[in-house]
Symmetry: none
Subunit: 330 residues, 6 copies
């Protein structure tokens, strides 16, 4: 379907600002269903969850890592975190697909993905007919994340063409990567999802800039977490804080927001609490904005500046035949 067909389309979008139920993936999925159901009851056609909503973002943890050392306690903490992550595909993915189909929404879900013994910060995409479409893996984790999450590659930076526009996701500080954003623009992204757990005010500047630069709608979903959303000590210790935070201390303040291609804030930012933030996206705004600035179209200079995206999978080991492991017949 061509771009023009969508230019008079209005899409109701909801970004979810909420916290994982830490170390309890089934309960987190139940919470996801309640939030999806509520968004759908207001007519949402696309629902975007924050980074690592499933699996959780271990704010303030060090996993016992210091330079040159790892504590046994930190290793055990990682084992539990690894256990809270989900296989893709797997039963949790099946449940999310079913939810998308039941509530007839496009679902963009942040999740910690388990692939063998390496975890990835991923975003999963589901269509409104209940199909799992695919995933984005965070290309470059930030700071200590590099010690708990692996690195995605160019094969998992998808943009999906759907009846409500072209959808993709860029996670947290990946949004500061100009070449990654340009890859997304090159794929024609129209509904640019930015799941995050970054709650500083400068995030708003980046979101506005990206909307203008990309000529796309930006939907940023951030977690809103209090201390009590994590297990009590000693199961979970906030070593980052000078003193252990109190139960209601805000650990991640949200900041979810929806911005139009002309840089207008349509909803949010919300720094108050858990919330559903919704807006109607007039897709015709895209063409009006790109008239003045089309980052990979009339405003590009490919003969001077050209980006190459190596979007094949990069594996340390490749097998010329397809099957890696053989299963025991049952």
């Amino acid at each position: 379907m061509g771009a023009s067909d969508l230019s008079s389309t209005v899409v109701r979008a909801t970004v979810v600002q909420a916290s994982t139920i830490f170390y309890d993936t089934p309960a987190t999925l139940d919470k996801a269903e309640r939030l999806i159901a509520e968004a759908a009851s207001y007519g949402a056609q696309i629902v975007v969850f924050p980074e690592a909503f499933i699996g959780g973002y271990p704010h303030g943890s060090t996993f016992g890592i210091t330079l040159g050392n790892r504590t046994a306690k930190g290793k055990e903490e990682f084992r539990r975190y690894h256990a809270s992550a989900i296989d893709v595909p797997g039963p949790e993915v099946d449940r999310l697909a079913a939810l998308a189909g039941k509530y007839k929404i496009y679902l963009v879900m942040g999740a910690v993905e388990r692939s063998g013994y390496t975890l990835y910060c991923s975003v999963l995409f589901f269509d409104s007919q209940g199909q799992y479409m695919g995933k984005h893996r965070k290309l470059m984790p930030t700071g200590l994340e590099r010690a708990i999450w692996g690195f995605g590659d160019g094969s998992t930076i998808p943009v999906y063409e759907t009846p409500i526009g072209k959808i993709g996701a860029v996670i947290c500080w990946e949004n500061r990567m100009p070449l990654l954003r340009t890859a997304m623009y090159g794929k024609g992204i129209e509904i640019y999802c930015a799941p995050t757990v970054y709650d500083r005010k400068d995030w708003q500047a980046s979101m506005t800039h990206i909307a203008l630069e990309g000529g796309c709608f930006v939907l940023s979903a951030s977690q809103f977490c209090r201390r009590k959303d994590y297990p009590p000590p000693p199961d979970y210790v906030f070593v980052a804080a000078a003193e252990e935070p109190s139960t209601d201390t805000v650990v991640c303040a949200g900041g979810s927001v929806i911005i139009s291609p002309s840089g207008q804030v349509l909803a949010g930012p919300n720094y108050e609490g858990e919330a559903l933030i919704s807006a109607d996206l007039d897709l015709g705004e895209i063409v009006r904005a790109k008239f003045a600035f089309d980052v990979v179209g009339h405003y590009s200079r490919p003969e001077v500046l050209s980006l190459t995206v190596k979007d094949h999978p990069q594996d340390p080991v490749s097998f010329t035949s397809t099957a890696r492991t053989e299963s025991t017949p049952k």
Copy 2:
């Protein structure tokens, strides 16, 4: 088939001088069919339409652009203009291909092409068996056109070898670009189509010069438009004119013409109204003319003057795998 085989061939050619039905692409296609049918009834083997016949040339408009500003009204005007353009390939291209096959003509059609959110001033080529052959995108728009159209590259300056000669197109003031013309000569162009909306008398000098310089037939098709071919105000306002033109005011006066390789005017120029301008092209004239002057042959000095044409596509973003966006399964 080599050039010599064509030297005793006579080809009946028709250039169409007519106006777009502005903001109404389906009606414009209907009009195209009527004109093609009429040309075919007179035996035309090739029919050339003016620049931007599909999509339209917004004479006298500014799209609300001044230095440092764009009006909201101008942006909306662009959205409607964008909606009138066509995807290539796409359903309108399919219809044009079918027309070429039905009437057994080679069809050279000016069209505003939509590629994502950037528009191009393109010319589409179809063979007499109903196949879409390819397109030329205007390399360098003129003046304010640079604010509404993107820039083509070297990958879309084709010349097609056909049983009725080698066919290509150069649009409007591109005809003033000596290096682009030389690229066409280098590709062996024999039937040089020059779709335009430029109606000044100096155009005739350029057309004659090109026929002589290139040793080719020149077929220039221009639009003939009156004020009434555009929507009435306030839907469309001629800001260029001191006062709003009256209904019958001529906005573009045509000037379509057919010229032989020896510089002889075979038909036209017509400045009277909408018309079909036809002539029989004796392809043997080409060899007679090139005997004296062959611009890329015996009259060239490649050891002194050499042109390089970079004719690969130039994209701001390249992907090492082929598929850019993935579609949702239906």
Copy 3:
């Protein structure tokens, strides 16, 4: 000189928010000197002027251009605008170099450059010893600018290594071009100058984002112009306005700002009037910021995303010997 040597350096920077004296280049240069002298008296080591400060930005003008037409009046307006531009090198460049040396400042000056009959929106760089260092030409003009300015190429996107840091400039909406910015980051830019005439509030979001993305200081100098800074009608007509603006009407509202690598606004934005906006840049902030995010260093993924910059000059005509035209001996 390596980066570490600068990490304890503090640089006093001034951005100039002022208007061209339109159609009067000598007077504009005089005004430049007054502003430079004042900045130097406060200890400025680098002074940045707005886009097109020399030559002027013809706000609200159309140069008589509509689609398919140009008025004689518009052509004459261009002739005068062309006469106000400066050759590079040339006498005005010599004067600017002398000013930089006299006041011992690094000077970054927006100017309309004349190269034959094509104009470029350029930024000129001068060192504190009175040497002209080179220039940046705007790669892609915006909207109607494309009808009055040519297009720069990859050979004029310099970053200069100086004792006060690595200095470069990106003009107006070029700042929305992620690949151009990445080229600047790749060159190690530390003092990122953003001359502009764009006075909308969304500019602040882009400036903050770029400081964070690039881990550099951003110095944005915008013009502040009132109607009276332009010649009175009929010499200059604001066709953009519904009615001719009054003498004191603000035509360009400034918005000049200085931002640190961590996204902190150090000075400005100023939307009040002509002004010198100054701040002390603690270059050690760069390394503190890049510790967390180094866009072309530890936070890049070159094996997935790689940018190629074609930074050789691109000319339509190349001569194998050096001299193009010969001068008559005097």
Copy 4:
């Protein structure tokens, strides 16, 4: 089934340190059953036998080979060795499968495989339900082994996904092949079996290193043989020794060992005699270890170093149709 499901699983493993009954395959199989039964009685879920347990490792023999010659006696020796080997599949394989099912163990058995007139040093895998799963053929025999065994290919380096973890085997000095080990890591091996007949002390360093490198359990089973386990002269002559060893001389000293993913020795090494060496494998150790180092996950650099495994069968003659030979109708 995903990795996490196993993270709280404990598996009891036994490695068998014992000698073949040389030139007597049925007796060797009887001995295998006795050892399996004993291991199972202690609760073993997986039992690993040494290299060439079935068929035997002809320590000290030369098979009459010198450079440029082979003795008739050596040829006859090979005939007898060939006769002691087993076809795969074949009746001995069926018996082994039945044993695995009867004792409900996963069985990893070293065997000399006969395929026509070529022998292979293979390892056979059986599941606890009595199914033969497949085999690994030693890729690269060592020294004189190359004169009696063929070379495996990439189609026989399996890793099997089972309810007690992913199981594979690497034989003797194959364990020094970093690319083969990486292939096994790439297949996700968790229970890394290392059948051998190599009894030097440096073997322990390699076993520890592999556990650390691969983040897997290493189960090394070696033969423990005395002179008397071989036929008396002249049926079997130890030409390698200066003088014929006495009956109780140790010919292969064992060294079987079980090591955890963090490099901790769980059982062994045993250099004393025939024995069953057992340990409980806490599979949760794997994730704790890989948190710090995941050789094909977060600690790989596929964009720099990539291994290609050609794991299709490599045959000297290929046929374009699938059936190689036609069968005579019965």
Copy 5:
């Protein structure tokens, strides 16, 4: 001196339409002086003579050449033609330089140049202070010209920067060579001289087209010759004509013309007789025209189409030392 300095300059230009006095070079020079004096008396600042004015254009001659043969008579005819040509430099060049100085005009003179035994169709340039500036040699003679004239190279296609604009010359059908014209545009030509002896009407189309294409003034000077300007038979025989022309028959009908950068005919074309054709060139017209179309500036696409001009001398024999011949001391 930059282009802008000339934008308010008006230059009076004269093109000379006259005939050589055949086989009488001194008389031809006398005639040239009379014509220059007359032009100067009307205020001409630049005077342009036709192709081969000195030396003559042997209309209607074959020099006895047929395919495979040359007659002795033709050879003798060439000897006389060779004798009428001039060395450059040489006494005739000195005289022409003196004339330019005396009458304070820029002089552009068509001449047959003798270089050893090869002749060239050249154009000589002189400044108003009496200096010979240099020459252009016709790159590619037409038809039978190739049998009497040599071929120029890239080292003799000059454009001279002068106080009255940038001056160059392109001879006769060289004007149909798009790459040569582009080389001249690349050198910034402003006063484009087109000496010729081609008198067909289609010449006017080319002259107009070039003015538009190049954005320059075009000054075309053609010969106007009658039969009586040549020696009577048998000294000169018009073998081309069916019958010997009568005394007053027009052999070359002129067509000299002056055209502005916007394609406006300022003077001529004259097909009546010998004449001085003059016009005042408002150099400001150039910038007004190039505002819309600058063939090597804003309207070029160098990243797609680029011309290389090899403008070094091309000699069949090169010497590594600079002096080719040694002079005898006087």
Copy 6:
């Protein structure tokens, strides 16, 4: 010089087990000189220093990083750490080169390299004539190191052919990367240097295994540090420890060792204190060992297992011309 020429060569090698003088790079260089002088006095021909000897390994520090946060104190700590690193090339590199030349040794030096704002854990190589040869950058930092060091690429994994054998280095846990080691083997490494700061006992197993696997000498140099080698609190705080260590507490216990290609420990391991550990390397041992096992020679199976090393530099931004930044003339 080929490998055989070295087979009767004996090389005296020294590995240095010592601590950085933290935050004091000049003093660390002074200490390096004292240690080199001492080693040279005993006849050492090659001297290997530990990982990060210059710049230091910040044991026990977190740089204020927790998931989702960085403290201002941590940023300042990084700024100081960045200041202690060295540019390559740069004055410290010049000094090291001079030391190698003065003492006529091959020098292998661990250093924290500063490249703009990203640091790398590098090893520098110098020859005995005082030339800097090149560097290896750690490919994959471990755990929290990923937050302070960038990632090397395939262009900096050198092996240098010298008169004392082929020398390369693999840093700390890189030694667990089988593909990287295989790359080194593929380059023919003979003197395999393994600088580290890892002091656990399992390191010895890896060192022995690598010597056997690679058939090379392994020279492992580790730091030996006490608390007092670091600045006292609050300048440096061991957050990893439950309580601040006392002055003499061992922070890194060394373990430096030299091992032969047959797995024999020639010197060390030393866990006692700072020391020079030396051995004579009989290079003939290499060929004796590889006779049995040549990992990239006769014992490889390239048709099944093949490693690809992408050893070109990988930069996020490439420029088609060579110079990135221009320097101000001084």
